[in-house]
Amino acid sequence: MQLLLSSVCMALTSAVIGFAYYQKQQFYPAVVYITKSNASMGVIYIQFFVIVFMFGKLLSKIFLGTLRAAEFEHLLERFWYALTETCLAFTVFRDDFNPRFVALFTVLLFLKSFHWLAEERVDFMERSPVLGWLFHIRVGSLLTVLGILDYVLLIHAYNSTLVRGPTVQLVFGFEYAILLTVIASTAIKYVLHAAEMRTDTPWENKAVFLLYTELVIGLIKVVLYILFVVIMAKIYALPMFVFRPMFFTIRNFRKALNDVIMSRRAIRNMNTLYPDATPEELRQSDNICIICREDMVNHSKKLPCGHIFHTTCLRSWFQRQQTCPTCRLNILRTPTVNSTAMPRQGDEAVAAAAGNPIPAAAGVQPAGGVPPPAPTAVVDGNQARADVNVAGGQALPPNFADLFGDASGLPNGLPNLAGLQIPPPPVMPMISPFMIPPHFGYLTPLPPPPIPQDLTNFTDEELRAMEGLQRDHIVQRLKLLQNINLMLDSAGIMMSQYQSLSARLQLTAVTPATAVNGSADSSVYDMPSTSATAMAQLETHQVTPTAAASSASPTMPAEKVTIEDLGADADEDDIPSTATEAVSIPNSDADFEENSSELGELRKRRLKFLEERNKSAATNERTTAE
């Protein structure tokens, strides 16, 4: 088949040359004719490749003899990959594409093929027990020739790059450097194999040398690849054709590194953990290493399970598995320590999980009255709230009362209002616990109530009075706006008083309860009323419960004056709730008077508000002093 192909190519070439010479009759014109004809050049190129192929076969006959089937298959596989990468390289160097370029790459592929074959042949040394002198002569000469060629071509590429700058020679320089590392690795392996074959006894250190050779060569290759990629990325573009061999090189290097680490660990473990076997033990246990099936004369190790092996055989096995080859006992102490550490961590995790319920249980126990720990305050609060609900109207400690008030201010507002409807004597003891919660609930319903009350209170006549465009209509609207302004001012004053009360609440433990009671009282009665005057009255009232006996007497005349100013008839009672109820009635009367009067009423209201403001300011000063 190959002979037929080469014969056909030879015939074609001869025909082309003969035809050209026949046409031109002279040498030079014939050469020019062939050069300018694409078909003729194609035939010449094919002939060139055939000659290269035949030369390759000749050299392989000389240096390698007959190729084995496995070698040929591997060669074909690698050749196709190399050819693909060469095509990728062509795409990078499109500008430099010319016959010389193709010739250079052909030489590179040619040498690569022989490098691969040399590598295969040296690996085969270990597999074949029969090797003659012819084998050594062939392999030695092949390695020498390839090494010299790689070095010469590398120097040539290096000099060319220095002279002309970065060109395609960069790729050739890099490729020949890689091939040089391959040939170095192959040569070292050959020397090691040959040295071992010279002696009949197994050479223990050979595996170590092979391992470190693999590691060093792998490192050099990785560095070369990284250097090449960086240089090419700067000058041309990323060399895509290099990534596949680079990936394999890095993977092999990592595997070699892992092997070295495992080997060193195995050696350290064997030297420190396992004793040497004594001659008596060797005699007792059949004296044969089960791994290599040879006699154990010296350098034997006894594992904790009692089995004995060669030191080198055991080290090789430990690089893969840390178990006894015979009984598979897990024998390395380091993994044993790790395995025992894991259950300990598990126990700690279990203890931590068990610890979580313990604080919770401890938190539940203090619900009876002991102050709870901070993390379980919510749980304790729930317990306290449940106790409060169960207790009903019973008196509660200040702490639980505060929690109860914080949790449910609004719902307690209604019971307080309902409680007011009860006759005064029985209401007092009931009001005491329920007065506290609305302290914070008052803030929430502040915006909504005034609007519907205003709308409901206005009659149709009042609305028509404010809709017109005449003087009277504008006067009515101004009155309403002034009322709103007064109410807002009163609200602001009350807010500031609440802030001072809350500050006092934080200072002392006893006073806050009383203060909260006072604020609750005022906030409850504030809801039904919409008049600034009523608010002023409430402000005066809320000071009464917090004032001392001596300060209570000056407050009473103020109330009397206020009532007299309103002109309403009211029975003076010591009970504050009754007085508040009496105050609410005159508000409606005042509204009717306002409807009938005009500017005179406005002036009177202004004067009353100013007087009441002065009184409330004086009262605030007293409260602050207290």
Binding site: E126, P202, I291, E294, W317, T326
Partner: protein, 167 residues
């Protein structure tokens, strides 16, 4: 590394020639390469493979006996634990360590104490008693489990084929 493997293979070959087990013949294909063996396995008596002689090939790694060899029948085989292309799937030939699929115990997998003789004896045992729980050839596993007669017929046909007899 391959040096110790070569010495061990030579020792095993010597042992097999001196004391061959019944129904098994094995040895290197050529004197130049001890890492490729050829074996002839006789079908176990009392089974559907009785009377057959099945050729197989074993390829040993360079780190033998630390890693197991690969075994492949070079004739047509129809068996739950033999792939269609002839590769043998048996626990003794699997790399040491835990089975990633969870079917085999680590004690059943390869160990340096194993040998070619033990491998071949395990294969003979596998021919006699297939394991249909983890089938390499699913069709054969199902047929062996549910249509035993048809399986036996196919096996007998293969036996005659290996012997060169007409079907």
């Amino acid at each position: 590394m391959a040096g110790s493997a070569l010495r061990r293979l030579m020792a095993e070959y010597k042992q097999l020639t001196l004391d061959p087990p019944e129904g098994i013949v094995a040895g290197p294909i050529s004197e130049d390469n001890f890492f490729e063996w050829e074996a002839l396995i006789a079908g176990p008596e009392g089974t559907c493979f009785e009377g057959g002689v099945f050729p197989a090939r074993l390829i040993f790694p360079t780190d033998y006996p630390l890693s197991p060899p690969k075994m492949k029948f070079t004739c047509d085989m129809f068996h739950p634990n033999i792939f269609a292309d002839g590769r043998v799937c048996i626990s003794i030939l699997h790399a040491p360590g835990d089975d990633p699929m969870g079917y085999e115990l680590s004690a059943e997998r390869w160990s340096p104490v194993q040998s070619v003789e033990k491998i071949l004896l395990s294969v003979v045992s596998m021919l006699a008693e297939p394991n249909d729980e983890s089938g390499a050839n699913v069709d054969a596993a199902i047929m062996w489990r549910e249509q035993r007669d048809e399986f036996n017929a196919i096996a007998r046909r293969l036996v005659r084929k290996t012997l060169g007899l007409p079907a």
